[in-house]
Amino acid sequence: MSGARNLSNALRRARVPRPRIILRPTLLQSPAATAVRTFSGSSTVRADKQIKYTSDAYPNVKRDPNFGELTADDVAFFKELLGSQSAVVDGVTTDATDDLEPFNSDWMRKYRGHTRLVLKPQSTEEVSKVLAYCNERKLAVVPQGGNTGLVGGSVPVFDEIVINTSRMNQIRSFDEASGVLVADAGVILEVADQYLAERNHLFPLDLGAKGSCHIGGNVATNAGGLRLLRYGSLHGNVLGLEAVLPDGTIVDALSTLRKNNTGYDLKQLFIGAEGTIGLITKVAIICPPRAKAVNVAYFGLESFEQVQRAYREAKGQLSEILSAFELMDGRSQRLVHESTGSKQPLEGEYPFYCLIETSGSNAEHDMEKLESFLENVMGEGIVADGVLAQDETQFQALWRWREGITEALSHLGGTYKYDVSIPLPELYQLVEDCKQRLTEKGLVGDDDSFPVRAVVGYGHMGDSNLHLNVSVRQYNKEVEKAIEPWVYEWIQKRQGSISAEHGLGIAKREFIGYSQNDTMVKLMKQLKALYDPNGIMNPYKYI
């Protein structure tokens, strides 16, 4: 049997141009190095250019003079504490510039820090001792997982010590009856999901960077992803966690209970805190059973009004089996086509495309529902054309048209990314307005004299979450000024959120006021001061 299955694997390779994750930073140890290869292959403009230091890009941000300076004694202490040679990347007493580079910069090549020390503790106790020492010496730290963030939250700005979770990568327990998984922060999302797949369960979070990102980082940034529509946010799915406060206190809130009304729900503070009040070391998360029947359909639509109608129909008719409703505009799909060379699933070109996924327990039941839905949206003329995946190959190939956008854009140059929540009726208007604004300023064009290549929009329609991406030939202050703070003001007017799922990091730190009022910001600052009085946890970011 294996012979032809191998051949059919070859077939898959022929049809899906790349395995899903190969061009993302797959190795934890060298995320940026992989990204560099990616860029040098396709983008001659920026291939040899160094990434700009974040401290140069943000001249207003000054190194906090209260923080201690790393000494050889500190390094010796950490080496002694962590034992193994591979647990410390030492740029203080040796020249380790190349080894430090992947930890200093992000995969988008947008942020770059000056760290001279990376620590990779293996246990909660080690993290506790490291943080207690750093707190004592007032040494600033940056918690780092897979370093796949989009807002510069996981890379240092100045000489903060990077505490990388990659060596805390054990799955601790899984209970088949309740579906609760307990795992270390450094477990890679895809590894966790594969582990669960073998046990017929599913990690309730899925996103494009799953091959690299760590679940600790996912929780720390409250990542949303592709199936939030169905399974809800991490604030609901994370039942418990273990974290270490800056003074070394281990917060054991690793409850596996669904219900626990005893006092403040403190674990929620760490979810989405981006490592500013503590470092998450373990996570307990409730996982739903893996759907036995999954179907994927891909549509072309003539207008955003039709997209909204299709979404309403999908909710009404597919209701409990609907697991994703994703929106991609025509330009984004064209860029994926340009970058991958794959043949587009539909014959004609449409201004909007949607990807619908259903997951259920009974294939016949699901198919019946899906078919009547498809008949309806085709018959009513809501959907202009579409395809339905007939097998696993097509299923994955169709998903690539949505998941591959980020990667396609990164091949073509830099990207200004805005991840926003806006009330559904105006969701796409932002892309139109932004495009018009940049065109009027003469920044958008087809040849290299224009800084902006394209303004595209895509996102999680089901969560009113749009990704506005401005694909540029190189990062450029003029473009940035044209977009910011205009885009934030636009969102504020509509009571939207300037960061739906990517977080604040350094990129959106100063714009929090557009989505949170003064009282809220004040309360947040009080919390930060309470748990991290020396401010050593992920400084210069968040609030």
């Binding site: 049997m1 059919s8 077939l11 040679q85 339905l388 097998d391 190959t393």
Partner: protein, 261 residues
């Protein structure tokens, strides 16, 4: 004789190739219940090629594309897929699902011979093998039974003239071989032949209205007799996993431990 192409595309519903098959407890075959099934990938290629022969508008018009599959009550699923891709009509040869791999290839080939004769077929496009049984012999047996020329593992199919001359390219060790034959003939398909299309929604709808006839082996004068007996099915021995070392020192000591240094 060849006024137009009347193509027969026999197809098979198999466990989706992305699913890892599991041997059943009785060790008589693989578990099929509850696993995702789809059209055998090689058969997808033969349907696609039949539809492309029509779209190419070559010297011979395609009169009719008949998709056919033998199997249990779910078989119509793949026949509908075939019709959504462009087949005109379909035969479902009803065979009760038994979990024993179904009828033998010779039985299928004899049945296909019956279909070819009754339906006046002049070109049979088959996948070179089904990924469940990996037998890869139905096409050849059919050619033998009919006494027709056969071209296996085609990577290119071209109808040259109105007289029904067909040129087929297939890959051989160290190069490609080009064969020429006259209709009627048998062609089996290989991976490089084409890239199957997606079934579009309008075509899926249309496929529901196309004719799907239910038949039995007896309609073609064939009986499901078996010559082979499956004694035992087992999984290949599990591969020993690799190990991870922390650093260079770890690697060196591991290599020493294994006696490689």
């Amino acid at each position: 004789m060849a006024s137009g192409l009347r193509i027969l595309v026999p197809i098979k519903r198999v466990i989706d190739y992305a699913v890892k098959p599991r041997v059943n407890k009785a060790q008589t075959g693989v578990e099929t219940v509850g696993f995702k099934h789809s059209l055998n990938p090689f058969d997808e290629l033969s349907i696609e090629e039949a539809v492309r022969l029509r779209e190419r508008k070559g010297p011979l018009k395609v009169e009719n594309i008949l998709a056919l599959s033998a199997g249990g009550p779910k078989t119509p699923d793949v026949l509908r897929t075939a019709m959504a891709m462009g087949a005109d009509r379909a035969f479902h040869i009803d065979i009760p699902e038994a979990g024993d791999g179904g009828p033998e290839q010779l039985t299928i080939a004899k049945m296909l011979k019956g279909v070819v004769e009754k339906e006046n077929i002049n070109l049979v496009l088959l996948g070179k093998q089904a990924i469940d049984g990996d037998q890869g012999q139905t096409g050849q047996m059919l050619a033998g039974l009919l006494g027709w020329p056969q071209a296996t593992q085609a990577s290119k199919v071209e109808v040259k003239d109105e007289a029904g001359t067909v040129e087929i390219t297939h890959e051989v060790d160290g190069g490609v071989e080009t064969l020429r034959a006259k209709l009627p003939m048998i062609i089996t398909t290989d991976l490089r032949l084409n890239q199957p299309r997606y079934a579009s929604l309008p075509n899926i709808m249309k496929a529901k209205k196309k004719s799907l006839e239910k038949k039995t082996l007896a309609d073609f004068g064939v009986e499901d007799t078996r010559r082979l007996k499956t004694i035992k099915v087992t999984e290949p021995p599990a591969r020993q996993g690799g190990g991870k070392v922390e650093d260079v020192d770890g690697l060196v000591s591991k290599l020493k431990e294994l006696g490689a240094l």
